[in-house]
Subunit: 432 residues, 2 copies
């Protein structure tokens, strides 16, 4: 019952487009065996064909208008590799309404418009797949949708942004400061000229929204997700983290919290013995806690032509198999309801706090009393160095037990008013 | 087009059967949403219903003969949870020939008879799924078959046996000897009364055969796989491993080696910085190198009612979705040809060698010369302790560069003939 040939159209021929086309053509025989049909890249659209690519396509494959792909009735599957939201969305809507299955690794598009697009796909009885949108080449979306479909997922914790993990790893291993490492990362192509989306946590926010939407079965309004970047992390914080047995990682968290979701992106202290603490450099990992499966972790390269190309082609093969079996939509979307997100003030977690104080008798006691008054209990307090002789200034580092964020903030607000407290220099959450 | 109800029959109600039935019934609403049909456990077969279970089934579900499941025309999917090979195979063949899809976590059955059973399933146009056969609750088979279907897999390295990893972890962390830890593991239920299948590497051998068969697309004759257990690993070896920056793990390896496969199970030195070195206790992990995806790792609990139940239910949901879409067999088996396996003598890897020698001038030089004569080059040689005063005996520890096993064995054979060499106490491969 398999078709002889299934045709793919590609919109956008940058890193991801090139990676996907190269893989589809290089492993064409292998893929044909696995699908039961030849999967052929019929046309590739880009606005600029003068630029040289790592993998060229033949002149007859080249197109310059999105309509060349959308209006070609022989094209069964469209790969959206334009990026951004506006044009990408038009292209995806155009393909779905013309009953073409769509594969996209575009996390911003899926995080913002996934529910609408999945509904369009369901109406058109075609597939919309986006494995490459989270974790690059790491299989995580298909395992959540299929392998773990019977489990109740309790918690997702991901290192899902390679740029920030590269920066934090270099800071951790070389004791360097953020700004310095960022420059290096930009020079090596690991960070964009405008690094905002990565270092401020937007990219990770889109990704955890997508994963949580699948794991918890509902739509998530990305505008409401708390996110905090890594720009304020200092070499001193990392040094203290090490002394206390932690690494600092940018975590994207999506967990059940009663009837709501605890959804947030921020840097966190991670215990050295936790599997996420050993995820270094540009690698990504997603830690999953499910009932009854227990703890799982998925680890791999989170970006690049090869890994993202692998994810896109895996999805193309899945779409092609569904076309051959008339089984599009066999894994349905369940994102009908919008899932409520807990306000950050209600989040319960541990905290690392670095304070700069005047080193006088009774200072630590005064501060500890205020913490206690607000219901914040402490697991450790330490003063790493002697006070500076000239100024009498010293740092005091605090680690709290798990406590509600609102209580901690109230305590910090009162502590900041003390004469002897010069600054609350850092507040970083501690995740187990 | 979805059916209202899809019926499941379960053969065998031990740990795995109980785990699967409990999950299917507890999360029935959730699963119905995801499948589009209610998935109902209609009958469960076991020979002994007097024994109490962690999760009971209703009397009308209880059956005592396999035929009660096989001959029930309303049962669509059969879970084989008998274990072993003989009865399990009869049950699976019986179900497939009656056009019921089958889910089994039985690694020995699949490793030995998978090709035959998958052919039967294809003829009957039903599915045979076995995610639980490797890595317990870790999604690894579906990712290899689907997400990575476009990749060329280059190498699989797995810690796929929880019992031996529990034992090696305890030996590593507590400096204890094998026999001592094994007794503890048996007392805690982490090792069987007859631990042979685990500690001699048979279990890991079945699992790497299954993974390699999928990754490299062919049938594997398990009889021809080299396997070596952990019974000879001593506290001294682990101590030296730590000094040299390694952990000792029982690895199951399946890699491309020219036109053949390099397939083997044995303990190995793993560098501390490798992700597999941090996989402790009963956890499993499978490290995958693919082109173009790069390095991946899948980590989780390798056994138990919960994790294996999760895998089995994930497969049941997949089968049910295929039934609703008439899409059974959408991911075809490609195990038509038998894949050639490289003899162990041709394997190329690094080695750790612990020798007991008479501590006389020139001894190390003599041995090093023999290594050199056989083309074995050394990365390090060290004598951890002074010679014993009474006997003049000392240990010398060697680490080689990568070299063909045959050359190493020839060198060791010659070294063993030296008067000053009392014993070649340990030879353990080093994997990167």
């Amino acid at each position: 019952m398999s078709r002889e040939q299934i045709n793919v159209g590609v919109i956008g021929f940058g890193t991801v487009g090139v990676g996907a086309v190269q893989l589809l053509e290089t492993n064409a025989d292998w893929i044909a065996q696995r699908v039961g049909s030849r999967v052929v890249v019929k046309r590739v659209m880009d606005v600029d064909w003068s630029r040289p690519r790592a993998y060229p396509v033949r002149p007859e494959q080249q197109a310059t208008a999105v309509q060349d792909i959308l209006d070609d009735p022989e094209i069964d599957i469209v790969i959206e590799a334009v990026g951004g939201v506006t044009h990408a969305k038009d292209a995806v809507v155009g393909a779905l309404t013309r009953r073409k299955s769509v594969v996209t690794p575009n996390k911003e598009l899926i995080a913002k418009h996934g529910a609408e697009l999945l509904n369009l796909a369901a109406e058109a009885k075609v597939d919309l797949m986006f494995e490459g949108a989270v974790g690059g080449g790491i299989p995580i979306i298909r395992p959540l949708k299929e392998s773990l479909a019977g489990d109740r997922i309790l918690r997702l914790v991901g290192i899902v942004n390679g740029t920030t993990n590269f920066i934090l790893t270099a800071m951790s291993q070389e004791g360097r400061d953020f700004a310095d490492v960022l420059k290096d990362a930009q020079a090596h192509g690991y960070a964009e000229a405008d690094p905002t989306a990565d270092v401020e946590g937007f990219d990770a926010m889109y990704k955890i929204a997508i994963l949580s939407s699948i794991a918890y079965g509902g739509h998530i309004d990305v505008q409401t997700i708390y996110h905090e970047g890594i720009t304020k992390i200092t070499a001193a914080d990392i040094e203290y983290a090490h002394q206390l047995g932690f690494e600092i990682k940018l975590l994207a968290i999506g967990a059940r919290a009663g009837q709501a979701l605890d959804l947030r992106v921020h840097p966190a202290f991670v215990p050295m013995e936790h599997p996420l603490a050993s995820v270094h450099g540009v690698f990504n990992a997603i830690f999953v806690q499910g009932d009854p499966v227990g703890d799982l972790m998925f680890y791999g390269r989170g970006a690049g032509a090869g890994p993202t190309g692998s994810a896109v082609v895996g999805d193309v093969i899945d779409c092609a198999r569904n076309i051959n079996h008339g089984a599009a939509g066999r894994v349905p979307c369940r994102c009908y309801q919008t899932l409520p997100i807990q306000p950050i003030s209600e989040v319960v977690t541990g905290y690392y706090i670095r304070t700069c104080v005047q080193d006088r008798p009774g200072v630590v006691g005064k501060m500890a009393t205020i913490f206690g008054d607000h219901g914040v209990s402490l697991t450790s307090v330490f003063q790493p160095q002697q006070a500076e002789e000239e100024t009498g200034a010293a740092e005091v580092v605090w680690i709290t037990h798990r406590v509600q964020e609102a209580k901690l903030q109230a305590a910090l607000k009162e502590i900041a008013t003390l004469d002897v407290v010069e600054a609350i220099a850092s507040v970083i959450r501690v995740e187990g």
